[in-house]
Symmetry: C2
Subunit: 234 residues, 2 copies
């Protein structure tokens, strides 16, 4: 897996980021320096620096003398998330519509194409990563150094939350995803037209859709069975 000698530090960074975004490494998972350094054929010194950098980006948390763990997610996290997301994302998309350059718009379209491909492909992790990349591009379009740090953290947990709350069997959820894809298309159109009001509105709508998806999961319709009986009531 990890034989390339040259950029192995970057490789670890990318791998860990992906693994955390896709929940291959779950929140709270222990990141052992010694194990990782063996696994990636890298000494502990640069590996510790990688973990420090990931901590700065919000992927992991480091406690003194107690090592690194994948950043936790709690109930409070969800609330904080949906409180902050519409505002930050609205601002990002508004600025993106104002400032996007032609090559950036090309990037965004490519990201959306990849997202649609991933949608058809059915690999949940690939979807989450593609979606993450789409939004990441909008962040760079906005180009505001003060907004970016919060936005990036939102994107991390957006991916993780999606992975947590996604039920592949559910038809309603599939429909929801198609709606999300359509919104991406609308977002691209608004940005390309430089219509910042429309872009900001779409941001809100997009996050509301996410919220609906999660509400479906957190507060499902009650099971139509009584515990311990194994038969439907009445």
């Amino acid at each position: 897996m990890a034989l390339a000698k040259k950029h192995s530090k970057e490789d670890v960074l990318h791998h860990l980021r992906h693994a955390i975004l896709t929940q291959e490494l779950q929140p709270g998972a222990d990141l052992d320096e010694a194990r990782l350094s063996e696994e990636w054929h890298l000494s502990r010194t640069p590996l510790r620096e990688v973990l420090r950098q990931l901590a700065g980006e919000g992927f992991v948390e480091i406690r003194a003398n107690r090592g690194a763990r994948v950043a936790e997610m709690s109930h409070k996290t969800l609330r904080d998330f949906f409180l902050a997301a519409p505002m930050i994302y609205g601002a990002i998309l508004r600025l993106a519509a104002q400032n996007a350059t032609a090559p950036q718009i090309a990037d965004l379209k490519a990201a959306q194409t990849a997202f649609k491909t991933a949608l058809r492909g059915g690999d949940i992790a690939a979807r989450a990563l593609a979606n993450n990349h789409f939004h990441d591009v909008t962040g760079r379009m906005a180009g505001n150094v003060y907004l970016l740090p919060s936005f990036q953290r939102l994107l991390i947990d957006h991916a993780r939350i999606s992975m947590t709350f996604f039920r592949p069997q559910d038809a309603e959820m599939a429909e929801n995803l198609n709606a999300a894809s359509d919104q991406h298309d609308a977002i691209i159109a608004a940005i390309e037209a430089g219509n910042d009001d429309a872009a900001a509105d779409l941001a809100i709508a997009h996050w509301n859709l996410s919220r609906d998806r999660i509400e479906q999961f957190v507060m499902p319709a009650g099971l139509d069975l009584q515990l311990g009986t194994g038969t439907a009531p009445e």
Copy 2:
């Protein structure tokens, strides 16, 4: 200066943060690993980790194979700053008013007392640090993990911009500072009363005041002399 063996890593962190906030270390200044490690009696390994951590917090920038520098500030920075600040800070103060606990309010009052003392003391750097601490406390009151990263970056450059654009001789600027102090008092009152609308409004007003102070500096009234003559016109 640095003889305590025990927490020297933390010491370096604090020192560098302060030095950067007060512009003792100016934007773009080179941070040499070897020099710092001698100066603080610490080997290069932990010192590099300190620099990595500061990079994550937005104090410094690291370029591969080319070392660390104090984070730059450009013209664009100022624009980005005043674009993002009212929104983020408004949100922070709104949440602070909703969520502040009694001990946090006590902290905030203590911070404001210290700020007033610093105002009278006349040490510009001390003022900037005291002001920074006041706002930092409001950030913790808000307690939203997604908003905090952007807020902290705003605070870093708020301190640095203040240090850059402050003219101690100017009477108008002294008056402006008193107004800022009064706003701090009003902010405390709004938070203590749990009045989130008022807190959010005060946030906007507070940043507008900052903007006025900087506009005075960036766009001063033209000098009443003609270049090259040495005499007043007319």
